[in-house]
Every structure is written in structure tokens, then in C-alpha cells.
């Protein structure tokens, strides 16, 4: 293959990536791969790709002896090799352009959720089954249990505060409380406003923006929210050891890109859930209660109303942190 052919095909590939990026950004499908806060980098990538592709097509350094003399980086080496090798290399670049353009609409669902595992289930597996026959590990598990109980009582202390009128709490106490929050940044202190909101309201509605926060707070101290109503939307999936009337309603939370997705959701149990297949999008409203599930205190919903909904345009939720508030 002559260098001209290489330059031509590379130009086409670069323009292909430009089109892929443009289509993803235009349709918004880019957010199925990348968290929105990374977007500035992709505008940069789009422009650079377009410029590189255009330049590449009109590139004429084949006879540019001046360039070669000055630059002994021997990029020409890149252009030598067998036809098969190049067919393979260029196919590597071309395939993602097509799978990206044609299958960008795919949304991770129950199959990936099962691979990644529902957090609670993983914890259960450690603390009960697998380590049951190992004395040392049992001690570890007990220690974890103990720590958790201690921290649970701690949390109960602090969650008791909102019941008292804020003004009645002496200044020193409140300051002390704040100091402690800074030392140990638990979900409670990562989402302080959200926590106050959740404690104040009788009906917590989970939205794209508060999704990760609400689940984190519920995981940390489910008891504080018992008796409140909660509305959650999400897709359904079951772990292999779930019974038919159990499922998780949740969504994938993404930090940077889909490769770091984690599942955020609630475990539900109800006879009516038997008819619901995996990967169904539901809106569920119910009253928060806790269940003791293999020694693990989980938040769940009882007296639920189930409503089928369409998959939202933006099926993932994103973990957004305001670094400036540190």
C-alpha cells in the first residue's frame, strides 16, 4: 500500500470518528457512554477530530523532503507492513465507528446488573455463607456487624436532632455536630441539604438529581426514614437467588463513563411483582420500612403502588459532586 492510500484511509477514519462524535452529541446518546460533566472534553475531541481528518485528507507530505530531514521520528515505519496487518489494524478503527453509529441507543439493563451485583447481595454473601465455616472470618464479620451497630446508634443520635426545634439546640452542640461532620464525611454530610429535606417531608420523590443521594442516605440509616412515603423509578432485575416475588428497582449511576457504572436501587418484595419481568421500567410508591434480611438492615417499601412507565430519555443517573464545597 502506498503512503497516499494510508493517508486517505486515515483521513476517512478520522472523519468517521468526527461523524460518530457529532451524532452522539447531537442526539444526546453520548450520555449513555459518558457522564455529562465530561462534555467539555468531547467538544474539544469533536473539533480536533474534524480538523485532523480534514488536514489528513489534504495532507501532502509524501514528497516533503524537508519534513523528513528535519524529523527523524520515522513515522514512515508506520506505513510499512503486510496487507493483512493493515486490514486488521484499520478494521479495529472502523468497527467501532459502525457499532457506535448503529447501536448507540443500547442501555445497560438487567444482564449487566447481574454481573455487577446488587451491593447488598454482595455484602450478604461475605457475611453469611462463604465465611461461615472459617472462624477467623466469622470474627471479622462479627466485628463488622458490631461496628455497624455502633455507627447505627451514632446515626440515631444525630437523626434525633431534627425532632427538636433547631433554635432550641444550644449553639455549642450544633457547632460540635458540624465539626464532627467535617472530620468524617458520611453520606449524611455529603448530602446535608438532601437529608434535611428527606427528614422534613412525608413523601420523598426520587428524581435524576437526588437519586444517588437518596439511596446512599437510605443505606446509611434506613431507620430514620421509616413511615415516610417514597416514589422511586427504575428498571427491574433479579439476582439468581431471588424468589419470584422479589426484585430490585434501580438505575445505573455513572461517575465518568459507563465502565464505572454501579447499580443504585431498592429491594422490593410483593406478590404482584411475580408478573413483572426483568428490564421493565416501573414507578413504585410505598411506605418505607426496614427488613432484617440475613442480618442486614435494608430499606424497602410496603403497601406499594406499581405503575409501568416508559424508559426515560436519560436512563442513567450521574454522581455529581461539587468539588468547590470542599
Amino acid at each position: 500500500m502506498s503512503k497516499t492510500t494510508h493517508l486517505f484511509i486515515r483521513g476517512v477514519i478520522l472523519l468517521g470518528f468526527t461523524m460518530l462524535l457529532f451524532q452522539l452529541i447531537w442526539t444526546g446518546d453520548i450520555n449513555r457512554f459518558i457522564a455529562p460533566r465530561m462534555m467539555p472534553y468531547f467538544y474539544f475531541a469533536l473539533i480536533v477530530m474534524g480538523v485532523l481528518g480534514t488536514i489528513q485528507l489534504f495532507r501532502n507530505d509524501i514528497d516533503d523532503h524537508d519534513h523528513h530531514e528535519s524529523c527523524h521520528c520515522a513515522h514512515d515505519h508506520d506505513y510499512q507492513g503486510s496487507k493483512k496487518k493493515f486490514a486488521f489494524i484499520y478494521a479495529l478503527f472502523i468497527i467501532p465507528i459502525f457499532t457506535g453509529l448503529l447501536f448507540s441507543g443500547h442501555v445497560l439493563g438487567s444482564s449487566q446488573a447481574q454481573t455487577m451485583g446488587f451491593k447488598h447481595e454482595l455484602r450478604l454473601a461475605t457475611e453469611t455463607g462463604i465465611y461461615a465455616n472459617n472462624e477467623e472470618s466469622q470474627q471479622v464479620a462479627q466485628q463488622i456487624e458490631q461496628d455497624r451497630e455502633e455507627s447505627a446508634t451514632d446515626n440515631n443520635d444525630s437523626s434525633g436532632i431534627p425532632e427538636i426545634d433547631e433554635d432550641e439546640v444550644p449553639e455549642e452542640y450544633r457547632e460540635h455536630d458540624e465539626e464532627r461532620n467535617i472530620e468524617v464525611l458520611t453520606p449524611e454530610s455529603m448530602y446535608p441539604e438532601l437529608k434535611e429535606e428527606m427528614l422534613a417531608t412525608d413523601h420523598i420523590v426520587m428524581t435524576e438529581d437526588n437519586y444517588v443521594g437518596v439511596i446512599s442516605l437510605l443505606e446509611e440509616n434506613p431507620d430514620a426514614y421509616v413511615g415516610k412515603e417514597l416514589t422511586i423509578e427504575g428498571f427491574t432485575f433479579r439476582e439468581s437467588d431471588f424468589s419470584n416475588d422479589q426484585l430490585v428497582v434501580g438505575r445505573f449511576g455513572i461517575t465518568c463513563c459507563t465502565a464505572d457504572a454501579g447499580i443504585f436501587g431498592l429491594l422490593l418484595e410483593d406478590d404482584r411483582l411475580q408478573e413483572i419481568r426483568d428490564d421493565t421500567w416501573l414507578r413504585v410508591t410505598g411506605t418505607i420500612e426496614t427488613i432484617e434480611y440475613n442480618n442486614w438492615q435494608l430499606a424497602t417499601l410496603k403497601d406499594i403502588e406499581i405503575e409501568r412507565i416508559d424508559q426515560p430519555d436519560d436512563p442513567y443517573v450521574y454522581e455529581q459532586f461539587d468539588y468547590s464545597e470542599l
Partner: protein, 332 residues
């Protein structure tokens, strides 16, 4: 005649891409073809790793091209202490200050080496920049805010390990070996000065697009492997090793290697595993992943001789693992 045919094929390719670009929505192939979900999951994660890396690879390629064209060898030499061991500490500091992640650092380090930076100093920057990095510090702080020991351990141990890597690489090679692949060997660039500014800009773009293809193929292979592991390895498999003092850190290092996450995001994945793995295993995951992973191994293979890359992996691995075990013994 043959060349004519080949051009025809490339034009057809351009047309097909444009066709897919215009009519992807109308075709709605994912609904029509019955492709298994796992395969689509694989494709989505593969593309997400690749797309996520593109802007940073481009940034790295441009910084590298700019160094190539505008920074002289003498400038680089001037800022590095001449004492080989004395240069290690400033190198870690330099790695810590610049917020460069693991995709961008590879072409930059390679260019610095071409400009005369000593091998062991360059390797210190290569392993330290992606982990000792202000953005990584913030994301780790958020993910482990309830367990700050992880944050301190990640940064402290990474600092220590980067210095040790510099020492061992110096002891092994004493700068007598050129690990760059032949075509990227030492170059002389005195005549760069003669080129006009416009020519220099043109050079930057030509270099950038050549490097994109040099690195891109390795990046794509790395992303495909990592995505395969992501899609098909059930996390439950890992659980049984979770609290084992020797297997735990080893398994987490292997996991970090194959997942090839961005160092900015790995803290959140680490946090999600913190209930099933011991603290030292999590620290092993967070320290080892940014320094060495499948994606950046393949990126390094684009520029460095394979034998050197595997030696470097061995050196980093056999430093991280004992350091983690010692940390574990001291702390718990």
C-alpha cells in the same frame, strides 16, 4: 488499475459511514436484529472506555507534539538534577502537580525521553502522574470520606512506590538501555529552529494524527479486553477472596489491571467494593490500577520494546504487593 480499485473501496467506506451517520435512527438495527443483550452491553462498555480515552489521548498527543516542536533538549536537561538519585524526588513532585491521567501520560513521557530525560526519571513520572494527581485526590476523598485512611494510604503509598520504582529501574538499567522501539529512538532536532512557525504548526498536526493511529490501535485492543472482563466476569467470583490477607490485595490488583478504569473514577468503584474487601485490598486496587493497567500496557507497547514493558510491569507489581502487605501488617 489496482490502486484505482483500492481508492474505490475507501470511497465506498466513506459512503457507508455517511449512510450510517444519516440513517442510524431510521434503521434502528438494535430493535430489528436480535442481538443478545450481553453483546450489546459489551459494545456499550467497549465504546465508553474508548470514547472516554479519546480526548485525553488527543490532549497527551498534542502536549507531546508541542514539546517535540517547541521545547529544546537543553531546556529539559536544565531542569533535571544531574544526580540520578537526586532526580527521583523532584520527579514525583512533578508527577503530582500535573493533572495528567494514564492515557495522556504515555506519549508525553515517551517524548520527554526522546528529549533526553533519563529512563528512571521518566518512569517515576509515568507511574506517579496518574495517581498522585489533584483530581484523583478529590474523587478519592469523596468516595472514601467516611474512611479517610484509604485516602491517605493511597496518596502516601503511591508516593513511596513511585520513588521505589525509580530506584529499581535505575539499579536495573543505569540508563544504559534504550527501551524505546527502534523507530522512536533518539532523534536530533537542532534544525527544528530553522523551520518557520507555520511549518511547526503543520508538523504538530501531522505528528498528532500519526500518533493517534499509533496509540489508537493499542487503545482499542485494550478497551475490548477490559470490556470483555467487565461484561462477563461476575463480581461475586471476587467475593470469596475478599478478606484473605494475601489473596485479597492480589485479587484486587489483578481486578484493577483488567478493568482499566480512569484513575479519576476508580475510587467510586473501589468504594462500592469496600464492604467485601479489606481496607488494604482496596488500597492495593487504588494504588496499582492507575500505575499499571491493561489499557496503558497496550499504550506503552506502542512506543516501548515489549521486553521493557513487561519488566516494568513486574517491577511495579513486585513493589506494590509487598508494600501493601507491610502496610497491612503495620496498620491492622
Amino acid at each position: 488499475m489496482k490502486g484505482f480499485l483500492r481508492e474505490g473501496v475507501i470511497y465506498a467506506l466513506l459512503f457507508l459511514i455517511f449512510f450510517a451517520f444519516l440513517f442510524a435512527d431510521t434503521l434502528a438495527l438494535d430493535d430489528r436484529l436480535n442481538i443478545p443483550n450481553r453483546v450489546l452491553d459489551f459494545n456499550t462498555i467497549f465504546l465508553s472506555i474508548f470514547l472516554e480515552a479519546i480526548p485525553f489521548v488527543l490532549l497527551g498527543v498534542f502536549v507531546s507534539s508541542i514539546i517535540q516542536v517547541f521545547v529544546s533538549d537543553q531546556t529539559i536537561q536544565k531542569y533535571i538534577p544531574s544526580n540520578p538519585l537526586g532526580a527521583i524526588f523532584p520527579a514525583v513532585i512533578a508527577g503530582a502537580i500535573f493533572p495528567i491521567c494514564e492515557c495522556a501520560i504515555v506519549p508525553i513521557v515517551r517524548r520527554l525521553m526522546q528529549k533526553g530525560m533519563k529512563l528512571h526519571v521518566a518512569m517515576v513520572i509515568l507511574v506517579s502522574a496518574p495517581v498522585l494527581n489533584p483530581i484523583v485526590l478529590l474523587s478519592t476523598f469523596y468516595a472514601f470520606s467516611s474512611d479517610l485512611i484509604v485516602v491517605y494510604a493511597r496518596m502516601g503509598l503511591a508516593f513511596l512506590i513511585a520513588m521505589l520504582v525509580g530506584l529499581v529501574i535505575y539499579a536495573l538499567y543505569r540508563n544504559k538501555m534504550n527501551p524505546l522501539r527502534e523507530q522512536f529512538g533518539a532523534i536530533t532536532h537542532e534544525h527544528q529552529a530553522n523551520r518557520s512557525f507555520a511549518q511547526k504548526i503543520k508538523d504538530i498536526f501531522y505528528h498528532a494524527s500519526d500518533e493517534f493511529f499509533t496509540m489508537g490501535k493499542f487503545l482499542l485492543i485494550g478497551a475490548a479486553f477490559a470490556s470483555f472482563i467487565q461484561t462477563f466476569l461476575a463480581r461475586e467470583v471476587l467475593v470469596q477472596f475478599g478478606m484473605d490477607p494475601f489473596l485479597g490485595p492480589a485479587v484486587m490488583m489483578a481486578f484493577a489491571y483488567f478493568l482499566s478504569l480512569c484513575s479519576e473514577a476508580d475510587a467510586f468503584v473501589g468504594a462500592s467494593l469496600s464492604q467485601i474487601f479489606s481496607t488494604s485490598s482496596i488500597v492495593a486496587f487504588l494504588v496499582y490500577g492507575p500505575m499499571m493497567d491493561l489499557k496503558n500496557t497496550l499504550l506503552m507497547l506502542a512506543y516501548f520494546k515489549a521486553r521493557f514493558v513487561f519488566t516494568l510491569i513486574a517491577v511495579v507489581t513486585f513493589i506494590v504487593y509487598p508494600v501493601i502487605l507491610i502496610f497491612q501488617a503495620l496498620m491492622f
